[in-house]
Amino acid sequence: MSRRLVLLPLVQWLLRQRLPEEWAEFVLGDLEEEYHRRSRQSSSDASAWLLKQALVCLASPVPAASRRIEPSTRPRIALRPGHLLRSAWRTFRARPLLTVSCIAILAAGVGSATAVSAAVYGLLIRPLPLPASERLVSGYALREGFDPFGTSLAEYSAFKTGVASFESIGVARTQTSTLRAGGDTVRVQGAVVTSDYLSTAGVVPALGRAISPADDRPGSSASVVISHSLWIRQFAGQPEAVGRSVTIDGRAATVIGILPPGFDLPSGTEMWMPLQVTIDTLPLQDRLASTYMPLARLRPGAAIGRANEEIAAIAKALAAEYPQRRGWTYRAIGLRQQLIGDLDGRTTRIVGLVVAAVVFLLVICCVNVANLVLLRAADRERDEAIRVALGASGGQLTLERLAESMAIGLAGGAAGLALTAWVAPLLSTLNPVRPVAFGPALTDFRIDTLTITIGASLSALTTILTAIVSHTPSNSRSDVAATLAASGPRTGLGRARRTRLRLLVAAQIAVAVLLLIGSGLVLRSFAALRDTDIGFRTRGVASSQLTLPPRMFTDHGSRAADLERLVASVRNIPGISNAGITTNIPLQRGSFDSFYTVEGRPVQNPNDVPITGHRVVTPGYLGLLGVRLMQGRLLSESDTATAPLVVVITEELARQACPGEDPIGRRIRRGRSTDTTNPWLTVVGVVGDVKEDRFNFRTDRAAWYLPYAQQNSSAPPNLVIESQADIGTLNAAVRQRVRAFDPDVAASELVPFDVHVAELLVTERFAAVMLSALACAGLLLAVIGLYGAISHIVRAQQPEIALRIAVGAARGRVVGMVVREVMLVAMLGTIAGILVAAVGANGLSAVLYEVRPHDAVTYGGVAVLLIVVSIAAAFVPALRAAQVDPAGLLR
């Protein structure tokens, strides 16, 4: 009795959780009534019965109480998710490999697309960690044929008062300084800034205070704001660092503030010192030195275009005031563009190209999956016809198919997102760009809510697309008999379905061809860039930047002698075969340039001010760099301070300075034609062009090389060494020599020239790697699609093939038949792809180097590749077709 008391309420409670409310009362009432009735005969039987009823109720899916519908001859469409899920699960069980392939393909598509979105978002969209960072702009000066310049203080003060679109503007000049805090001397990337630089950026010190206008006044005591990383590194993160006295370049300064982590404007800066000058009283030369990086904040609502108009007006006024400024233009660009070096929009275009490629890949994935789903639908045609005959409605079947597509889409999307988490960090290690500042923030391709939203939307999109492409109108009852008759095991594939399969596969091939052509062009362009003759040796050459104490700059003669001694000492290090000094490493940011005048060639147009790259080097440097000597001689030990003044020029300078003449023996001088303070220099040699400019990598620039002993240069010298040994092992030895030479001289790590050059092409390499990977994936998917479709068609055609063989067709003809089928589809896709590519390729010309958008080699190569790959894909199905046993099949 006690069991009865417990069992019934328990079962009733359980079922109440499960049953629809509309039913609960009647079902529970029935159970209780029946249970009591049975208990009167046998209590144990009744309990067993009750338990069984409860179990069945609990195990079966929750029945939903239906709404009353109009009487109809068609059964109700099952909209219940449980039913649809079960049907999806059933189809998965029936063909697990097919389903897993679909999911994997979608995962690859969604994963790569989401990862690229994360990268694009991080690089181009995510706001910088500064307040209202979208209003921050940087700017540069342009002069025909040259690297973008910085801004000068004259322009800074003109912009500050004259550009109404700017809320505020500040400038910074980067410099490498030695910092001594306690006993330790370190080399630190620093910047002297106007007091409004940090406030324009909107950065607020985490500790202490920022640079105030009072700090920036000439004659104020020296102060410095340091970065968070420097604070951690040199001051162990102690709050007492604020207020401490340090020595910067031999001058005492007080640490007044510590900035929050991550801030390193203008370029990897860790130390900010006030500029402390009165611009109006500066000598003209200093006022016009274009060595400052501006940072301005637009007023809310102000457009950068408007600011540029105002700047252009000011530039005109400046050109009238300073003849030196004629022919210069200024441009304000978004801070982000400046940081990622996207001055001419090339980076954005390359990123756009990768996005387009990933979209194409996604389309291939969708079509591929649709293709597979369609193949399966063909397999099921008969089953479905039977189900329709049994009373299933077309709507029901469509719903089931949709549920299936949805389940595949969802699973693929989820797997794709998981893939993104793995791929996105991989993309950031590919280093698509080398930002000059805020590197970690810009190359942080993390998975966040936004990325997940993008991924989810993409998978929803692919699901819908797949469902649409693979949708086949459901069998209506009138077709049932026809379908059943046409889809028997001994008949082939329907004509319509076969055409559709062929078209889908051809479409995939067309998109793959597009991808291949695009990536082929970019790859060839990258190869051309990489193989460009840069005019100097990069293998086995490395450089280190030296930071000299100010006292070494007081006397040029002794500095030149000191550096010669240092070079000799470094040259003695075992493993180092040669060493030299130069003021400029080729292809680095920042270049020293100089006006020049050729003897006996007055400038025709006063606005035409010739400029050459200005490099002051020790005698061994040019030989070490491996430049080609075209005429005359290189610089030598005999070009001492007391010897006649000489210069070695590049071919481009020779072309510009002495067109059509022998430059050797001609005299040339620094400065404009009106400036006679500099002595004449005799040209003793002409060397091949050396690529010097980072941004104009594609063009040759004029440059000259002057002996260090003869030319006073205040530029920080670079120590360049040549060695066949591993550069890493030489670092310590070189530094030790430098320290022994003078403890106040700091030397940076040795950086191989290979690295300098590789850094130049990071964005191109990123595009080449990404596009090749995407194109290969596209090709692979298209071939899988082709293979799948052809095998299916062959399988469906087996009876026909068997019949042909039985009536005497040679097996070779059967193979030919299959290959013809494949070639038809492949050619169709290839031709369509090439046509579309030919039309669209002109859009690529902006990112191509020495490769035409209609490069015949690329197009032809892709066509041949496609045909070869298609024949390979046809091989297995063709062989299978040839081995059909007519007797077995017809029996």
Partner: protein, 125 residues
């Protein structure tokens, strides 16, 4: 080509008439409702099927089927009074709609027509 897992095909399903074709269990349920007349409600229908066919069916299945038949317009229902032995709960009674009667008689006619002349096989086994 594989067939879907074996399904019971009832002959009535092949006819396209005004009344929708009935499944096997639907037929049993309809017949039970018809047999029980005014007294057709869940527990009674369940009992009737069990006593006539020996099939033990779950109350869940019964209600799902009744609900579906009602939605198709083959049955109608009404709520009775609460009783003591049901723990004070009410009954839900069912009766055949005219369309339901058409559907079940159609099924019956079909089976009878199809089995005509086969009695010696059918009744022996």
């Amino acid at each position: 080509m594989r067939l879907e897992r074996q399904r019971i095909i009832t002959p009535t399903m092949w006819f396209n008439t005004d009344a929708p074709p009935l499944g096997d269990f639907e037929q049993l349920t309809m017949l039970a409702v018809l047999r029980l007349d005014e007294d057709a409600y869940g527990a009674a229908i369940q009992r009737e099927i069990e006593s006539q066919t020996g099939r033990v069916v779950s109350v869940n299945a019964i209600y799902t089927t009744l609900d579906r038949l009602e939605a198709k317009g083959l049955l109608r229902s009404w709520i009775g009074a609460p009783t003591q032995e049901r723990g004070g709960r009410r009954k839900k009674h069912y009766a055949l709609e005219p369309l339901g009667l058409t559907a079940i008689s159609q099924a019956y006619r079909t089976i009878r027509r199809m089995s005509r002349g086969l009695e010696r096989f059918l009744e022996r086994s």
